[in-house]
């Protein structure tokens, strides 16, 4: 089996090297209508609402990052961007959109909720009054490493990353895992006969909405994995160590949509389970990647705190799927390695964290998700 893999890989390499000489072909042209497509090439299909929310998070994140350059940010603007109120975006189309991040954000017990994100947005506004200061343990400010600058709180937490990666979990992943791949949206009770010229049937549209949250081009795969946004961009972490994460997620999205369009509900239901399972791997591989990065840069406050903030967002995102592979207890333990107790609650603490803490987090994740073989390469 290994030989096959190596040869295939070699072909992949040489094929790239020789690409210029090949005649251009597009796989869609050659795919017969009655076969499952190799790309997410369905028509009609519409997930513009998801694209709007992706764009909103891009602007929210950019606004928060202004603190990295030493500027105080206005928490009112951040909160407005979260709820899409008072036309906060520079893109007029987003201000006009009926979509928002807040009303799709997880808002219940057991995981980071709307109030948590609003708290971070408010606090970013308050403490970024210190954005002109150099960060030191115990004092919020900007930490620098080479050309990279990150605004951190007094414990080294970078709210920009926690909010961005956190909302990718609490909105995008949560909507995929708990809404659009579930019975309420794609079950047999949902209309799959009346086809809208833009959106297709309701069932088709709901599945497309799940796909839209991933943030990738329709021909995305492990061998063609550039151009992704948000979780799409991070699907490449697994690809880099041979897990084929992007292809696996894409194949399940294609399979589910094809199943819906051909009324093969067994296929649809298999894909719904699998898409959640494969998507979860994006989060966990990226979390381990950033934990490794924190370890590799342990002595560099800016890089360590930045990487741990990213990792923290990806880790707590695992909670937004009721079929998650990791137990709730183990997830809480993993988060605990990155946290400290402050009064009644636990908050991320990247100052008193040790390498042993990071290794414990990596080991618990890698053993749970059967990633021991690649955990050091991620």
């Amino acid at each position: 089996m290994k030989k096959v893999f190596v040869s295939a890989l070699a072909i992949g390499l040489f094929a790239t090297a020789c690409k210029k000489k090949e005649e251009p072909t597009t796989p869609e042209d050659t795919t017969p209508q009655n076969q499952m497509p190799t790309t997410y090439n369905f028509s009609p299909a519409d997930y513009s609402g998801q694209t709007d929310r992706l764009d909103m998070l891009t602007e929210l994140s950019a606004e928060m990052k202004k603190a990295n350059d030493g500027n105080q940010v206005d928490s009112t603007v951040l909160l407005n961007m979260f709820a899409n109120t008072n036309s906060p975006f520079s893109d007029a189309n987003l201000n006009a959109s009926t979509k928002q991040l807040k009303n799709k954000c997880y808002n219940n017990v057991g995981a980071k909720d709307v109030a948590y994100f609003e708290y971070l947005l408010k606090r970013q506004g308050q403490i970024s009054a210190n954005a002109g200061n150099t960060w030191s343990a115990g004092n919020a400010g900007v930490a620098t490493s080479g050309t990279k600058k990150y605004f951190l709180d007094e414990y080294g937490a970078e709210y920009t990353q926690i909010v961005e990666k956190g909302l990718m979990g609490a909105v995008f992943y949560y909507q995929i895992a708990e809404t659009y791949t579930r019975d309420s949206k794609i079950g047999n009770a949902v209309d799959n006969t009346t086809s809208d010229p833009v959106q297709g049937t309701d069932m088709e549209h709901h599945w497309d909405e799940a796909f839209g949250y991933w943030g990738v081009p329709t021909d995305f795969s492990s061998t063609n994995n550039s151009g992704g946004r948000f979780h799409g961009k991070y699907s490449t972490k697994g690809d880099a160590v041979g897990l084929n994460t992007s292809t696996k997620v894409m194949n399940q999205f294609i399979k589910g949509r094809y199943g819906i369009s051909t009324n093969d509900y067994t296929m649809r239901d298999e894909a719904a389970v699998q898409v959640r399972k494969e998507y979860e791997m994006i989060l966990v591989t990226t979390a381990i990647h950033y934990l490794n990065s924190a370890k590799a840069n342990f002595a560099d406050d800016a890089l360590r705190c930045h990487a741990l903030s990213e990792a923290y967002g990806f880790i707590f995102s695992l909670a937004y799927n009721s079929d998650k592979k990791i137990s709730t207890t183990d997830l809480s333990t993993t988060m605990g390695y990155l946290e400290t107790t402050a009064g009644p609650t636990s908050i991320p603490d990247f100052v008193s964290i040790t390498v042993a803490d990071i290794n414990n987090a990596i080991d618990l994740l890698s053993s749970t998700y059967e990633l021991d073989a690649v955990k050091t390469s991620l």
């Binding site: 040489f14 990065s293 100052v351 040790t354 290794n359």
Partner: protein
């Protein structure tokens, strides 16, 4: 039923076989079509035996260096743990000698930041400099600290010991350790920091002598995660970030508009940064050439096998010539780096320029010749 399964298996096997054949054929076709401008005999040339390289480097470079570090640091630790008040000037002078030798031996291991060392982030905990004397003093005063905490990285390792053990006036240092109020805490802190370093070095050396050696030898490809990939990434990162920038560039002022920052040099209290720098550079060259106790198979042989060139010259020669140029520039300096960046800035700049040329050879030429992906720079851009 059995029969049916059997049949299916046979046909699957046939399918596998024929597809394998197709892949191999296709592969050869692609190979030949891609290498039009190269000689045909390239295809038939035997592949470089990477296992021999890995075995030589493990047995004759990495493991002996870690063993030696473990031995020297362990002796130093015993010496320090045996100290008691009142500490004498002689105690401290003996400790200083052992310290310098331990710090120098560490330079030979800093390029091995993968596997066991990476797993416990050895490099950060043993040689993050400059140390923060305020944090060290605060730890000594409180007498309560977790030396593993990220916030204490600036207060542990060789740089902290460098601060604790060295002073222009050794008698003043003796007084510090014998001070009624804080001397006992200070001595205890020294013991804790050295014990911590000793424990970490021992852990890494022991892993290399047991399970990790097997893992290292088994990963004999060039893909991400292969031992060659790990070594090349780690040595490049060490050379670029820690040797070129840390030891020379940052004190010289390459990150600060040309204004030197002598306080960011290595070993500023013991003032032996030049020895440390030269040891690390010659150690790296020796490692790349695969020379341990004897001349052995190293990256130079691998490059020669691939006929890797820089211009018209063999890349391996070019790399060694450039190492010589760097060493010549180091030898042109006399005092420690923190002094030279102030008194002899142009000579340090010349050294830095030669060091920069080596980055190109190691990070671009060598990695592309060996088809190794540099993965240590996070390209996320945020």
């Amino acid at each position: 039923m059995m029969n049916l399964i059997h049949k299916t298996r046979v046909s699957n096997f046939k399918l596998l076989n024929s597809s394998l054949f197709c892949l191999v054929t296709l592969n050869l076709l692609l190979l030949s079509s891609c290498k039009k401008d190269k000689k045909n005999d390239d295809i038939t040339k035997a592949e470089f035996n990477k296992s021999i390289l890995l075995e030589n480097i493990a047995n004759n470079v990495i493991i002996p260096r870690y063993d030696s570090l473990k031995f020297i640091v362990s002796n130093f630790n015993q010496q320090i743990q045996a100290l008691s008040q009142p500490v004498s000037a002689n105690d401290l002078i003996e400790a200083q000698i052992s310290f310098k030798s331990a710090y120098q031996t560490w330079q030979l291991c800093s390029s091995f930041d993968f596997g066991p060392a990476e797993s416990i982030a050895l490099k950060g905990s043993i040689n993050t400099y400059p140390c923060d004397t305020l944090v060290i003093k605060s730890n000594i005063t409180s007498g309560s600290y977790n030396l593993g905490a990220a916030s204490n990285l600036v207060a542990i390792g060789f740089p902290a010991v460098d601060y604790l053990l060295f002073h222009n006036n050794v008698n003043l240092l003796v007084d510090y350790f014998n001070d009624n109020a804080i001397g006992a805490n200070r001595l205890q802190y020294l013991k804790d920091v050295v014990a911590n370093a000793n424990q970490q070095v021992e852990l890494v050396a022991n892993q290399w002598n047991s399970s990790y050696k097997t893992t290292f030898l088994a990963a004999n490809g060039t893909d991400v995660g292969s031992s060659i990939g790990l070594m090349v990434n780690a040595l490049n990162m060490d050379y670029e970030k820690y040797i070129r920038d840390g030891k020379v560039g940052i004190p010289l002022g390459v990150r600060s508009l040309g204004i030197p920052i002598p306080g960011k040099a290595e070993a500023i209290y013991s003032q032996h940064s030049l020895v440390l720098l030269k040891t690390s550079v010659t150690g790296l060259q020796n490692y790349i050439n695969g020379n341990g106790s004897e001349s052995g198979i190293g990256f130079d042989d691998y490059l020669d096998h691939l006929e890797a060139k820089h211009g018209s010259e063999l890349l391996s020669n070019k790399i060694n010539t450039q190492f010589s140029s760097v060493i010549t520039k180091i030898d042109a300096l006399q005092a420690s780096i923190d002094v030279e960046v102030l008194n002899n800035q142009s000579k340090v700049q010349e050294l830095y320029d030669e060091m920069q040329k080596l980055v190109v050879l190691l990070k671009l030429d060598l990695t592309s010749a060996l088809s190794i992906l540099i993965t240590y720079q996070d390209n996320d851009g945020d």
